[in-house]
Amino acid sequence: MEWVKRNQITVGATVVVLVAAYVFYGINSNVATSMFSGAWFFAVPLVLGALTGVVGERSGVVNIGIEGQMLVAAFAAFFSASASGSLVVGVLVGMLAGIVMGAFLALTTVKGLMDQIIAGVVINIVATGLTSFFYRPGKVLSANMPQWNVPILSNIPLIGDVFFQSGPIALFALVSVPVVHFALFRTRWGLRTRSIGEYPSAADTAGIDVIRMRLVNVTIGGIFAGAAGAYLSMEATGGFERGMTAGRGFLALAILIFGGWRPLRVFAAALFFGFTNALASQLQGVVNIPQQFITLLPYLLTLVVLAVAAGRVRAPGAVGQPFVKGEGS
């Protein structure tokens, strides 16, 4: 209950949103369900991409290469699934691709002391080049990704339909959010991770191996971007297209900041964005305003929300700064 008190605004907002959602559901269950499903469908890669950002940036490494990480993972996932005929292989290879890209970022920035933004840009360019250069048309998946109904939970009206009847990667995203949140704020790993991202020399003097931990975190954090990529090419659609991330990595970055580097808020921010997006397409042709004005609604609303709720987010203190042992204290 103390937690509720400390997080009054969050809890309040959640309650309001839930009530509104169910009122909407009561009015038109079909449209409500489809819009919220659409929102979540849209939000999944953003959430996953942003989680990669959370893990990396909380450890002190800026990641603007999420877009590239996702793209390479989408490519690797789809083509390995199609070549091996196994969806599981595809998803795993996708995650592995995310991890490999994460390792690249980690090695160049943490070990090689390369500027983190440049490393991210390099990832993005390399990803575009690689995936279009080696793209081969005409490949298909051997099967569709399964749809899973989570027992009991999937029977909850609205929420069950939206969140608990979905593909494995979407469920993975759903589970990852609270897990990462919990890990970050309640476990030893989290405490240490936050400390190396906030004030690495303090962690260093406390006996924590900052370099190793950054390497490991940034590398492993790539698993989420990898999952996001696999989601795009295998779960959301059934094929890879050049440039199919279509800016979602950058949106994830925006969502990461919007969500204040906190997984639960990132989740909320992604859903908000997804919902405005669903709203925009729902309104097309219904209201008599040029379609273009409606479709830029999500971007505009995000800006407005940020401007109104300004000053509330704060980046991890040492994000972007390389750590060199013995220089900090």
């Binding site: 800026v62 603007i64 160049t108 090689g112 002391l113 390369m114 500027d115 983190q116 933004i117 440049i118 490393a119 840009v121 390099v122 360019i125 390399v126 575009t128 080049g129 690689l130 279009s132 250069f133 800016g247 950058f250 949106l251 970055l253 925006a254 900041i257 919007f258 040029p290 273009q292 004005f293 479709t295 830029l296 971007y299 505009l300 995000t302 800006l303 940020l306 401007a307 109104v308 300004a310 000053g311 987010v313 704060r314 980046a315 991890p316 203190g317 040492a318 994000v319 972007g320 700064q321 390389p322």
Partner: protein, 393 residues
Amino acid sequence: MADPRDEPSDGTPVEGAVATETAPPPVLAERGAPPPPTGVLGLLVREQSIIVPIVAVIAALAIGAVLIRAQGVNPTYAYQSLFTYSFGTADGLQATFEKMVPLILCGLAVVIPLRVGLFNIGAQGQLMSGAICAAAAAHAVREAPGFLIAVIAMVAGILGGAMWASIAGALKATRGVHEVISTIMLNSIAAGLIDYLVNGPLKDPSQSYPSSYPAPDGAKFQALGFVPIGLPIALVLAILVAWMLRRTTLGFQFETIGRNRHAASYAGIKLGGMIVLAMAVAGALAGLSGSIEYLEIDPYRYQDGIAGSLGFDGITIALLARSSPLGTIPAALLVGALRAGSSTLMFNTGIQPEIVDMLLAITLLLVSLPIIAKLIFRRHTAKSSALASSWGS
């Protein structure tokens, strides 16, 4: 509180005493750095900001050769086709130059905010907004003399880009909205608004595809031989920006904010105003490049694709240039030449144009990883300033 055992001061300057009685502590410009070498090595070390990128390009081409070979093509032939066209033919040289113009300007649009500690991902939207304003203005004054139209269009482009960028600047300065989010959002908003404009109020009805009115004939830029007019403009601006950052009080204020915001506000620099101004200047440059694209490049209209990915290329340029304004020129020359030659490369060898992206990525990687410098210069490696450190602020 005086200590009776202290000898009364006899007025001898104590500085003098210090100087004579104790050797001054060993203070060097770079504490702990070895003395700079002299001679040829010294020259190389001092010029390493030039040497490193050159070596990086050569190394990237070597790695690229492997990729090309893997495609079953002779790399020498491939590079020959690429560069012969880009530099060796009038058409190719003009294409290279034409591509350089927006690359330089968008590169500058990223460089300037970087100096203030801002990461401008919005050059894309700023360029688009400049281009559409140029198109609208040129159409509005289409009866005027061509030269005047061109000037008005450029001014409109500058204002359009500046205005669009200032939104991000103002949101940052007044509401603390992270410029990375706001510029990403503003890119999408610009795309939407302009899509509406070229489908509606600014649409040229003679075109079935959404497209603005064309630039009036007199206003179109004619190339001077194979040198497009935009090139001298861009070059002059690069020099001006370098001068501005280095020699003027404005540049000093930008730089101070970027290096230590607290010290800047202590020194009486108005952070908010300067942030907006830096973004506005950046947007103005991107916007100008938009209007030049409109005035200089066939079909002389605002159409889809006018912006290409130039805004994002600006980031690459800025990073290749290591955020130096003058560095954008060689960086743009490299990228422009690769892009210009890529279709000849495909025509002659069948190699996909994406190879260019790969070459650029490798170059960027090698330029920014301290590896090359470490290999060549060892202990004398110069430190490059970090861009990423401003991320959290």
